[in-house]
Symmetry: C2
Subunit: 416 residues, 2 copies
Amino acid sequence: MMEMMSKPLCVNGARLWQSLMDLAAIGATPKGGVCRLALTDLDRQARDLFVHWAKEAGCTVRIDAIGNIFARRVGRNNELPPVMTGSHIDTQPTGGKFDGNYGVMAGLEVLRSLNDAGIETEMPMEVVVWTNEEGSRFVPVMMGSGVFVGAFTLPEVLAQQDAQGISVEQALSSSGYAGSPTVTPPVHAYFEAHIEQGPVLEANDCVIGVVQGALGQRWYNVVINGMESHAGPTPMELRRDALLAASELTLAINRFALDRLPHARGTVGAMDVFPNSRNVIPGRVTMTVDLRAPDDAMLLAMDTALRQTCASIAKARQLTIDLDQVVYFPPQPFTPELVEGIRSAAQAQGYSSMDVISGAGHDAVYLARVAPTAMVFVPCAGGISHNEIEDAEPAHLEAGCNVLLQGMLSSAGVAI
Amino acid sequence: MMEMMSKPLCVNGARLWQSLMDLAAIGATPKGGVCRLALTDLDRQARDLFVHWAKEAGCTVRIDAIGNIFARRVGRNNELPPVMTGSHIDTQPTGGKFDGNYGVMAGLEVLRSLNDAGIETEMPMEVVVWTNEEGSRFVPVMMGSGVFVGAFTLPEVLAQQDAQGISVEQALSSSGYAGSPTVTPPVHAYFEAHIEQGPVLEANDCVIGVVQGALGQRWYNVVINGMESHAGPTPMELRRDALLAASELTLAINRFALDRLPHARGTVGAMDVFPNSRNVIPGRVTMTVDLRAPDDAMLLAMDTALRQTCASIAKARQLTIDLDQVVYFPPQPFTPELVEGIRSAAQAQGYSSMDVISGAGHDAVYLARVAPTAMVFVPCAGGISHNEIEDAEPAHLEAGCNVLLQGMLSSAGVAI
């Protein structure tokens, strides 16, 4: 009852916004976005700025062997595992100011606000910058958090190379952010604030998305081989047109998701046609498939439908369709107690909120494998992300940061 | 009756084959094909060889302003318009030895055989090399024959540039094949021998295709603009996926032709997807459409169906589809008397033959606008053309050349 009567601690929204804008200046693009690929010199500059701010806020900073940066604000009992928050500051080539950056700056703002209020927590708190979440320069995506939770081994990711043949190991070393191998410490709880990257909050006029978990994903490469021939002299009934097969498959993949609303997704994002000449029947098509679903049974049913459809199209059109699964992320529910804490914090502060599910991958999805985890979503304009015009309202970003603060405080415990 | 009893005049198949092989050495590719783009130095070398052979066969040679080469064997009455045959010796970048080259070498072999037999014709005969039929380096395709018949003006094609910014005028001048502007002389009859470039003759085990005419063609560029967004967080029902629209359109275009068998054709040969990223819903697709039909009413009905389908897909999917017709060739029937002459010549020489329609464009299709015209098709292996593995049987090439000889002799009249 006492808590309800006292004015709740709030973050400084103007300071949060200014930090986001200052960070966005590093790698700023003419169209208002940010191009700051992982482990480039621009990424190093952004990391340096974060470390500077973290130390200014009284934090100690450690770097692990994959370059993840952990900024720690001590608590009363520093033997306890930390309450952690974070995200990433690398961007897509034509990325925005908020994706990832918001989660890191919101975490920093939580620590600054605790400093301002002179609040000591029972447990230590940490703000983390995870290395290479985007995967634009080096695959796999979510590299830093993936190594942290053991999804990948350190040697395998250090050996990955970018398009110029530069390895992760070389890039880490050049950036000065190659830390020492350490045993992953236990994490008491992990929170991550993020722009939604979709249109659902905006469409429902809600400020806070209470994230229930993340969709499972299966990604595939498809190669269709038919027969290239001249579009004029080749009768319709003698054709083995790879693009017709690709078109049927694309429409079928859309139906697999439409049959499983509201959460299933089915997308063909990339397609290349060979020889891609106006008057030549396509002999070969390569395409990608991205299937997502909230539970593994549904995801597997979609996989089965995909395989059956490939086989039946190949048979009917007398061509070959090779399907290769290249990525699998299991569906990842978040921790009910923490999710409930996010919902309560939003309600207590009078923010409109709704339950949502994350269609995209986030570092939090990996962290949920090793620690109780929750995420807070805030709207982004038009649901647009991975785009230089990505935008978000200062008031929404502040609201999400206030909810993050309350969630972290509940977990860390205020030292009396 | 006297003709039926005399042994018909025949060409020298071995000489024809050797000339084809000698010509194919100029621009030969490691995979057995030919790369000899229009008005390059290799094209000049091939032209020089043709001119050398034509003069060796007693011909006079003239060049017109677009570089078409006319090799004339005089007849008894040289005031009469010539009986003409020809084709092209430029190739696709990964072209074969026979496309075009066969028509020119077959014409040369006809003249050589008449020389061997000491036959004088009433009318003069001409073998023509038409400039830039393929259109691989300079558009439009069928440039030389198009200028000859007035489909294009000379100034407009001389100004066309290749990808390096070299104009047709400059390339003609460099090659030494820029002749003088002349008034197009009348043509008594035009014949063209060509590989089929399709699988119909082979599938029907026929040696001679008696070509009834050429399909009309409408070519289009299509631009579909939807909304690019993240494949994970964007619910299926809020998507405006340009690739789904393109897939529906591609399948519909196939149906337009399947509904009008056996001669209609509908093909999407080229498609480009933007941003073409695995986990981004395609916001934009560009694609080509190629519709062909044997008569203008059918071609127009297909055009109408295309426009209606674009409109209905755009409306249903809340995106825009822009359709731009870039090429129109009207259906072109050949001259019944000459076509009948080809059929009779094949029968008289005991070659299996069938009526076919040309799905592709040829110089003959333009010539038919100004002169009585017919074509002779011979099979090519697997129906494959515009490919380095393009192949044809020497016996089939010889048969087509014998039919061409008889057709030309019938038109030109043997001087008594």
